[in-house]
Amino acid sequence: MKKALALSLALVLLSAGLCPADDAKGGPAAPPWPDPDRLTYGEIRFSPPKPERVVLENGLTLYTLEDRELPLVQVSFIVGAGSVFEPEGKAGLAELTGDAMRTGGAGKLGGDQVDEQLEYLAAPVSVNLGMEYGTGSLSVLKKDLEKAFGIFADILRRPAFEEAKVEQARNLKIEELRRVFDQPQRLAFREYRRVLYAGNPRGRLPEIATIASIGREDVAAFHRAHFFPRNLRIAITGDLSKEEALALVERHFGDWDDEGDFGTAPHPKPREQAPLYYYPRKGPQSTVIIGTIGPGKESPDFYPFTVLDHILGSGGFRSRIFQEVRSSRGLAYSAGSFYEGRQGYGTFGAYAMTKTESTGQVLSVLQAILKDARESRMPAQDIHLAKRAIVNSYIFSFTSSHMIAFQHMALEFQGLPVKFLTEYPAKIDAVNREDVLKVAEKYLDPDRWTVFVLGDEGRFDEPLKSFGTVKRIP
């Protein structure tokens, strides 16, 4: 496996110097400089180290990678606990659980004592329960590992959920929600998520009322249900051997035999014939988002869709949305697209923030760019550029031991084989124009888009109804 990856990376980095030269060069100002497209580069040989994987008897999976460069140890975990598993009416429970685990005391220590000890050791611990899963970390000097890891383990296994700290977490979250309305872009992406995932648990968002209804018992129950050895993966890297890491984890987690709920949630589906959603808000700028459900990370469509997204709007200044909306027309500062392949589905969106008076124009441009992608094949040169960019930057996924161990852990969590990492560059490289056209046809169907506009419609250059049926929220 190690060899295969080394090989594929070496291959990729070598081939990069051999691109056909851009014919758009020349002119009277003949450069004293070489043509940047004709520079040649030496070969890179790199075999990223491979982490060791051990499964404890209780089912907890550990990834370790020794790295003696520095006297530090880094720990991360992934747990199958996210907001998709929240009960109805308790939106925000996952996030609050994570906050209260970190702040509400652990084992024999109260919340304030946990803070004091970790901060005196300069050993930060984080716990973040997101939408699909939770993650967290500990970073500590080797000399303090035993003590800090003990607290870390207690936070995961034996959070105390002190009533006062749960209340504080709840109050702070409520204040944060009150302040969402002060940040138009944040508000826009939050409301977009609600309509994109309408009918799916992912569309249920924390509200002041749902947060206010969450008590200590809810938080403790959510923790109990989802934190158990078979649902938890830990990566430890740095200044310790595999044996030391394993012994450490055995000592702190080996006697833990809880079972719980892996949780299931249906994958979201694209909306059919959704109306255009309009969120009225006064301000100098509108936020326009067009999005849909794309392929999951395990799908063969993941690779061509990644290339498609790069060309459309995530591949820097040359990507189409950026180029058209920003560079050519000066209509936005932020404009582009995003795509994230998740387990079983993906999320894709195109966006721009533009002055109120050019909202209609920007919406038209975004729609035209997306439609064009499914109506005509992308030029070979665009595909070539996107593939080279993705493959050449792939090496940055392996710039530290911890990143490498984390990648392996995350892949397994997502149900993907380790070879995903080694095959990724070759699979991107194999994408052709037809593949990209096919995924555009399949996923970028205007009847299955969700279009969202936040702004002040009275001052738009075009009424929204000229783009279709409008549904006003809230």
Binding site: D67, D115, E176, T306, M353, A410
Partner: protein
Amino acid sequence: MIRSRKRPTRAALGPFAALAAAALIALSPARLGAYSLEDRVQRVTLENGLKVLLVERHTSPTVALYIRHLVGAADEAEGRSGAAHLLEHMLFKGTTTIGTKNFGEEQRVLKRIREAGAALDRERMKGAGADESELKRLAQALKELQSEAREWVVENEIDRLYTENGAVGLNASTGQDVTTYKVSLPSNRIELWARIEADRMTNPVLREFYTERDVVMEERRQTYESVPARKLMELFLATAFTASPYRRPVIGWPSDIAFLSPDDLETFFRQYHAPGNTVIAVVGDIDAAGTLELVKRYFGPIPAHPPVPRRVTEEPPQNGQKRVTLAADANPHLIIGWHKPTLPSFEDYVFDVIEALLSKGRTSRFHRAIVQGKQLAEEVSAVNGMPGARYANLFMVSGTPRHPHGPDELEEAVYEEIERLKTEPVQKRELEKIINQLRAEFIRELNSNAGLASRLSYYEIIAGDYRYMTRYIEMIEKVTPKDILETAKKYLTEENRTVAVLRKQVKP
């Protein structure tokens, strides 16, 4: 207060790639003490004055490349605010050999665009007295020339070259003090960077100028005008400083940006992007000697420019509290600032310690007393050194009250903690905790090529010597409880402070 270019980027491997990268910044390693880092840094000054810092780190075959110029918004002339930042945007537009199909032809159109743009701007400057039909005619003329020029332009070539070659973290930023161009590349591609950047420092072409000026207006709408907290910050700085250039927003005042011209930027470029005003840092999988040769080959021929004397308006002492209110349809927000000297004065180190005491982590005084104890605020934080470090600056506290508590209650609570600094000597354990944290953070930052390149180049350019960073902890260890008492008493006074408050006001 650094402006960054928001650039769309692909999430390499879905959520986890970004996440792991974030984890990296938050967590990481070092047996590197101060002196061993100094042993690893090579510092060379080329004949034209360009300074180069090199560090070999062979963790992965990648390299981080930073270029910093000692120039920022603080150097702008009156009425030209936003010039440094707009120039940073424009330097992504290419050179005489990058981004053009035929520079000779293009140059002719560019010259006419410049004239047409100047004519239009002259008419626009008349404001209400401008002739509508003339405005229309001039705008149309500019538009036609812009389409003509487009025939010769290869758009976004610099970005394309980098992206295609696997760049990550390609970005630039402008602050009050410093302008930065940065990128990370696979380590076999350093020559591409040298080729592009040396050319950008020598032969930039300000093509697509008027469109980009509109982009910056959008940036202002997005990042200042749509965000009440940012508007409050702008108002706060404009109030705290009466004379210092730090009173102006980095992005510029809207009416200044609207009339910036290519000539303004060119003057600025010639004066300040010169080699003697520049520091380069290269950190990663390099052979230092070979890389230095490459840097010399490309950057060495850039002609030296005589240093421009900087006439800086100093902020006169403040002799009474200043208060200002922003009425906005948003939740309340509070900012307080006190004038103080900048680095490398000893007092600046003392303020770094005060900053940590007040707001570093959950055991900090603000968090314990105000967020957890009185529960008056969602967040309260202290920052030393706003909005820049080249000139005398501010120690700043900002916070968001928690409903139904208001900004006045929060302000009182902040002052209680400030008074404690003046009356109670800090306990030994609290100082130890801070030193432990700063030491661990220093070590963690060394584990990333980009982090190291960023800090080395920043301190080299701002403090004149990167060793400010390697000797930092030693200096912090010298700070005594008595220093803290005295510094707080001297600077954190009512007459030396400025208070800005955002109060909610719903417009009918």
